[in-house]
């Protein structure tokens, strides 16, 4: 009896995000229909598809930014709307970096940290150092290059995942084209971070136009090809 | 009561008749506009269907 309860618990604990029969229409076009996804701990869901096949739309539906035309998204078996637990457990890096131009790199990070009720200057430096942009700390975000800004966005992601061990951990990362504009070294860094996150029991949903076969993420990944779910025009 | 007296409206002919005429015209315009639009939409959809049929026959 106890054993059964325990397995049941781990099972529900394993499964983080579920999408049932998702359908999305943009303008006149039906982008995709009948999408079922499950994201478990330690799993990287890789959404692939041609340009305009709805990768970003699906990602935004999965993180609650936009709503599907039909179908439901569940976070730990609960609906996504007004789900405080989901807000606390998810980190998102989109096309837009979410950085304030007027603030310096470190100030951008500090704001994120303060929102979580933490005050730890050392952690800020660590995150910047881990993405090898410590030298940018006091530059305003406006002065950073595109690649540096992307790295800063990942530093913020890392910060919120690390620091939040006190409150609740950012167990799910949602990444939209994470490697755009980032050089080879940066890409390796970010892949390492992702692998680390996955082996710690986190989960990732990402869009990326290339195959992940060659990367360290290959063994965690499950692929979802949107072209197989294409809607009718 | 004769007709000219009726149309005279006790000296308020302009006010009364302009209001009634305007209201009737507005209501009729709404209906005419909706019917006209309906015909145009149906025509456009019919053309779209024909285009799709031609496309299917060609391919």
């Amino acid at each position: 009896m106890t054993a059964l309860a325990a397995t049941h618990k781990t099972d529900s604990d394993q499964c983080l995000l579920q999408g049932h029969d998702l359908h999305c229409v943009r303008g006149e076009r039906s982008l995709f229909t009948g999408i079922n996804v499950t994201v478990n701990r330690g799993q990287c869901l890789h959404i692939v598809g041609a340009n305009g096949s709805g990768k970003t739309s699906l990602l935004r539906i999965l993180c609650g930014l936009s709503s599907a035309d039909s179908g439901t998204v569940l976070w730990r078996k609960q609906p996504l709307a007004n789900n405080v637990d989901f807000n606390a457990s998810t980190a998102y890096v989109g096309h837009k970096d979410g950085l304030k131009n007027e603030l310096t790199a470190i100030e951008n990070l500090r704001f994120q940290q303060q929102l979580e009720g933490i005050n730890d200057e050392q952690a800020l430096d660590d995150c910047l150092a881990q993405l090898k942009i410590l030298y940018c700390a006091d530059l305003s975000a406006q002065a950073l290059s595109f690649g540096q800004r992307r790295r800063l966005a990942f530093a913020r992601l890392l910060l919120s995942s690390k620091a939040s061990s006190k409150t609740s951990s950012k167990v799910l990362w949602i990444l939209d084209e994470p490697f755009t504009g980032i050089d080879i070294h940066g890409r390796a860094l970010i892949e390492d971070l992702c692998v680390q996150h996955l082996s710690d029991g986190g989960a990732i949903v990402m869009t990326h136009h290339q195959s992940l076969d060659q990367s360290g993420l290959a063994k965690y990944r499950s692929e979802l090809n949107l072209e197989a779910h294409g809607g009718n025009l | 009561m004769n007709w000219s007296e009726f149309f005279h409206m006790g000296g308020y002919a302009f006010h009364v008749w302009s209001c009634w005429a305007l209201s009737t015209a507005c209501l009729l315009f709404i209906v005419a506009f909706a019917k006209f639009r309906n015909a145009r939409i149906k025509r456009d959809i019919a053309r779209q269907i024909q285009r799709e049929e031609r496309h299917q026959n060609n391919s």
């Binding site: 935004r60 993180c63 609650g64 930014l65 936009s66 709503s67 405080v84 807000n87 606390a88 998810t90 980190a91 998102y92 989109g94 096309h95 837009k96 970096d97 979410g98 950085l99 304030k100 131009n101 007027e102 603030l103 100030e107 704001f111 303060q114 929102l115 009720g117 919120s160 | -």
Partner: protein, 221 residues
Amino acid sequence: MNTLLLYFKREWQLLFRNTGALIQPLVFFIIIALLFPFSLPAEITLLQKIGGGIIWVAAVLASLLSLENMFQSDYQDGTLEQAIIHQRSLEMAMLGKVLAHWSATGLFLTVFSPLLCLTFNIPSEQIWVLFFGLLLGTPSLTLIGAVGAAITVTLRRGGVLIAIIILPLYIPVLIFGAGMLSQSAQGLEITSQLYTLAAIFVLAITLAPFAIASALRATIN
């Protein structure tokens, strides 16, 4: 509450880095108000009579001018998306932002309004009436305007649309704010108008955050 304060503080931090945007509404307010004497017959009594109304209209226009930028930059750089995903209470976060915005526009205007009153030769008792009227009225203006700004945030040129949808909603505040002045000029009681302005403010501050948050969630997708 913590979220509200943090957003309030960050908004001020951003405003200090961008002093141009900080003083623009104030300068606009003063210029609009000072434009009226040029377009009116040169009578001191006339300006005295309508000066309060002019200042109110200028305040409404100045607060309208600054609305477009309220959420636009946050939307463009993606911080708004981050807030929608991460914030437990988007309502509180946005309220902090809007209040910071008010303190940078409405509060400034209110503080400077007595100066304009002097140029219009408005008697000193009435200056106080105008001052407290603006102090109570401008937060409502900013809160109502923020809802319009939230609805139009994704539009590239939302400025005119904000004016069209928001100006009719400003009318009650304008009526009671400016009406208070003409009441007091006739030596009548103005407490009921003050209470009404306060009631509108309470209504605005309780409902606007929810309207803002749901408008942002609905239009950003």
